[in-house]
Point group: C2
Chain length 148, copies 2
DNA sequence: GAGAAGATATTGCATATGCAAGTTTCAGAG
DNA sequence: CTCTGAAACTTGCATATGCAATATCTTCTC
C-alpha cells in the first residue's frame, strides 16, 4: 500500500471504477453466451427493451436505460440492418419514429433464451445472492432522466 | 407488463444490463467532475492504478482491473501523449515495458482530487451506504484473471 | 398560414472495449 | 549457439459511449 492517500482512495474506492469493472466482467460472460447467436449482449439488452416496451421512440429507450440518443441512433442501426427491429411509422412522421421488434427478433429471443439463462446463472453465482439483489435494487433506484 | 416471460425476465433481471446501466450513470457523474481537468473518468482510473502499482506492465494492469490488453494499448497511448505516464525501461527490455506515473501525472492527481471527492460524494448519495458497500464488496470478490 | 419555439434524431469527433490474428522478444531445449 | 515455444504487445475490425452542433419535424402563436 502506498503512502499517497488520494491515490489509494481512488484506486480502491472509486465507485465508478468498480462499476465499470463489474460491467466489463459481466459483459464478458454474456457475450460468450451470445456469440453463437451472432448478437452482442449489449444488443440483446436493447432488443428486450424494444420487445417489452415497443413501439417505443429512441428518446424513451434512452430514458429507460440511461443511454444517450446519439448512441442509440448508431446501435439501433445495426439491429435494424439485422432485421431484429423495425421502424413503425412512415417517413412523414418526423418527430419520433417508434421502433418495434420484428418476428425475426422475437424468434431470436426465443432461441437464445436458454443461453441467456446459463449466463445469468453464472453471473448470479459470481455475485452471490446478496450481490444480485443489491445490483437489481441499485439500478432500480436510479432516478429517471427527467421526463417531460 | 407483457405476457412474454423471457422478455420480461431479461428486461428486468439481466445482471449485465443493470451493471452496464449503473456504470453509465456513474461514469456521467465522474466525467462531469473531471471535465475541467481535461481527463476522462476512465483515464483517471487507469492513472491511479499506474500511480499506485507502477512501474507496472500492461498485462498486469489488465489483470488488476479486468481490461483487455488491446484496450490498454490504445487507452494508454492517449495518456502517454499527455505525459501523465511514461515507459520505464529502455528499449532493450523487450517483453514488457512497464509504465509509471510522471510528475505531471502526479500533480494532476493532486489538482483533481477535490473534484473527484465531490463526484464520489454524489455517487455515494445516489447509491446509499448499503449500495456503496455492496458495490465495493462485489468488485473485490471478482476472481482475478488467472495469473501465471 | 408564416414564423418562432421546442422536441427528436443525426452527424462529427474522440474515447472505450474486446476478439482474432500477427509481431516482437525472452527463456529454455537441444 | 540456434531453434522453438511462450509471453507481452500491437493491429485490424466491429461495436459501444457521450458531447456538441446540426438537421428535421411538430406545434404553438400571431
Amino acid at each position: 500500500m502506498s503512502r499517497h492517500g488520494v491515490i489509494d482512495e481512488i484506486a480502491q474506492g472509486c465507485l465508478m471504477g468498480r462499476a465499470r469493472m463489474l460491467a466489463r466482467v459481466l459483459t464478458g460472460i454474456y457475450d460468450d453466451a451470445m456469440r453463437p447467436f451472432g448478437i452482442k449482449a449489449s444488443q440483446l439488452n436493447l432488443l428486450v427493451v424494444v420487445a417489452q416496451l415497443g413501439p417505443i421512440r429512441r428518446i424513451d429507450i434512452g430514458r429507460t436505460i440511461h443511454l444517450d440518443s446519439s448512441t442509440l441512433t448508431r446501435n439501433l442501426q445495426v439491429m435494424l440492418a439485422n432485421d431484429w427491429i423495425e421502424e413503425t411509422a412512415s417517413a412523414e412522421d418526423g418527430r419520433g419514429r417508434p421502433l418495434r421488434v420484428t418476428a425475426q427478433g422475437r424468434a431470436l429471443l426465443q432461441k437464445l433464451s436458454g443461453a441467456w439463462k446459463d449466463a445469468q446463472r453464472k453471473a448470479r453465482k459470481l455475485l452471490g445472492t446478496d450481490g444480485e439483489a443489491m445490483l437489481l435494487d441499485l439500478s432500480s433506484g436510479l432516478p429517471r432522466p427527467d421526463a417531460p
